[in-house]
């Protein structure tokens, strides 16, 4: 079953065609690496799949929903981790996790389990996010997204700023998500890091073409 089906999709950022004819298919249980040069359209593609951008033309279906008609119902079902943390600097780690969890209707147990999984140290729970390191912020962001148990993960450079332990956790998260029937799209420049945990590698060039290369070497 396809989780993501993009066919000749155009996305405009202002007047600039950030995606100009992108096609991609991702099935349930599949983890796919997106790579390509800076500005190729990787982040735009992830934001499109998260329902944050509108397709200007072409066909875009995510989780059986036509993004041209309805983007709202897709959003709560995806776990999007972008360049920005989506955290409130003046709230503590625990308050952020609690706020976003309650906003998404996630139980306290799921929130706590997610924080444990990302190995966020308890001593950091009462620390305002503004005082966290980039890596600690990243862990908190991913914990917030993971608490929702998304059907589709959209990860934009998820290893950025993380230490070795954090990177291993992200790798495990990708593997587990795909193994449990979810789908994962990871945009990354760290091919050596990500390739072992994905099924396929897809190249985006200039927002105009999406090419698929079979790798299938998940460990």
């Amino acid at each position: 079953m396809s989780v993501v089906e993009l066919d000749d999709v155009v996305v405009l950022l202002g007047r600039f065609p950030a995606l100009a004819g992108a096609s991609l298919r991702v099935d349930a249980g599949e983890a796919v690496l997106l790579h390509g040069p800076n500005g190729a359209g990787k982040s735009t593609l992830l934001r499109l799949c998260a329902g944050l951008l509108r397709p200007e033309s072409g066909s875009a279906r995510v989780l059986d929903t036509d993004l041209g008609r309805d983007r709202r119902s897709v959003r709560p079902r995806v776990g999007y981790v972008g360049h920005q943390s989506m955290l409130y600097d003046d709230l503590t780690v625990a308050e952020n996790i609690r706020f976003w969890g309650r906003a998404a209707g996630v139980s306290t147990e799921q929130q706590e389990a997610s924080a444990r999984r990302m190995r966020i140290e308890e001593r950091l729970f009462d620390v305002p996010v503004s005082r966290l390191s980039a890596g600690q912020r990243r862990r908190t962001s991913i914990a917030v997204a993971a608490a929702r148990r998304p059907e589709l993960w959209l990860l934009d450079e998820p290893h950025a700023g993380l230490d070795q332990s954090g990177r291993d956790i992200v790798d495990a998260l990708i593997t587990d998500a795909a193994a449990s029937g979810g789908a994962v799209l990871v945009a990354s420049h760290e091919l050596d890091r990500v390739e072992p945990v994905v099924h396929r590698r897809v190249t985006i060039i200039g927002g105009t073409a999406v090419e698929s290369e079979g790798t299938t070497r998940v460990r």
Binding site: R72, Q84, L91, A103, V144
Partner: protein, 217 residues
């Protein structure tokens, strides 16, 4: 309530309203006093207008702060992704903004009573007008804040857009306060009714349009 709690928690921790907005509003009042170089009687007559100009200017800062909370680190997108209803987000942010402006307005009221020796003839009318005006400022402020949420130039554009929209609040609140302070012979309750009407219209507009504004900005 979730968004309102979050915004108020952030305010309690950062104390922006207390440490920046209130001093700014008090400073405006003091500067008005210097600029007008008025005798006590004239200053008392001008008090309602000066008070509400200071409140509106201070409110622009509070609105800007409220919008800024969602603009930083992509939190606005987080709200979209959370699946929260846009009208809940609007009402929550409006409630938090109203609470903050109310605190500023009450502290400022103390300021004009002390600085300008403003008389209070009808306390009930004064309080009712204050609530009505703050409701309108909060409802319209949140709506226009959302309109400019994603704009880089919102710091400069926000007052240009918002202050003209709030001019009915300035006029009605000044008249109602004038009646409550015994400086103007008018029916302050009618003006107070207008203030609540203004607030209700903007609340309805915000509930209806906030989803579109969140999407487009």
């Amino acid at each position: 309530m979730l968004v309102a709690q979050k915004d108020l928690r952030i305010e309690l921790r950062s104390k922006v309203a207390l440490n920046q907005v209130v001093p700014f509003a008090l400073l405006v009042l003091v500067l008005f006093g210097f600029a007008l170089d008025a005798d006590r009687a004239s200053l008392t007559n001008f008090t309602p207008g000066l008070y509400w100009v200071a409140i509106l200017l201070a409110s622009v800062l509070a609105v800007h702060r409220s919008v800024g909370l969602e603009a930083g680190e992509g939190a606005r997108e987080g709200l979209l992704l959370s699946g929260m209803r846009p009208e809940s987000v609007y009402l929550g942010k409006t409630l938090a903004l109203i609470a903050q402006i109310l605190v500023v307005a009450l502290m400022m009221l103390g300021g004009v009573v002390i600085l300008y020796e403003a008389p209070v003839d009808d306390g009930l009318l004064l309080v009712a007008a204050l609530f009505g005006a703050v409701l309108g400022v909060g409802a319209a402020g949140t709506l226009y804040g959302a309109l400019l949420g994603g704009q880089r130039a919102r710091e400069t554009v926000l007052p240009i857009l918002l202050l003209p929209v709030l001019s009915p609040v300035l006029i009605a609140a000044t008249r109602a306060f004038g009646d409550a302070m015994g400086t103007v012979a008018t029916d302050g309750w009618q003006w107070t009714g207008l203030l609540f009407g203004f607030g209700a219209i903007y609340l309805a507009l915000g509930v209806v349009s906030h989803g579109v504004l969140m999407e487009e900005n």
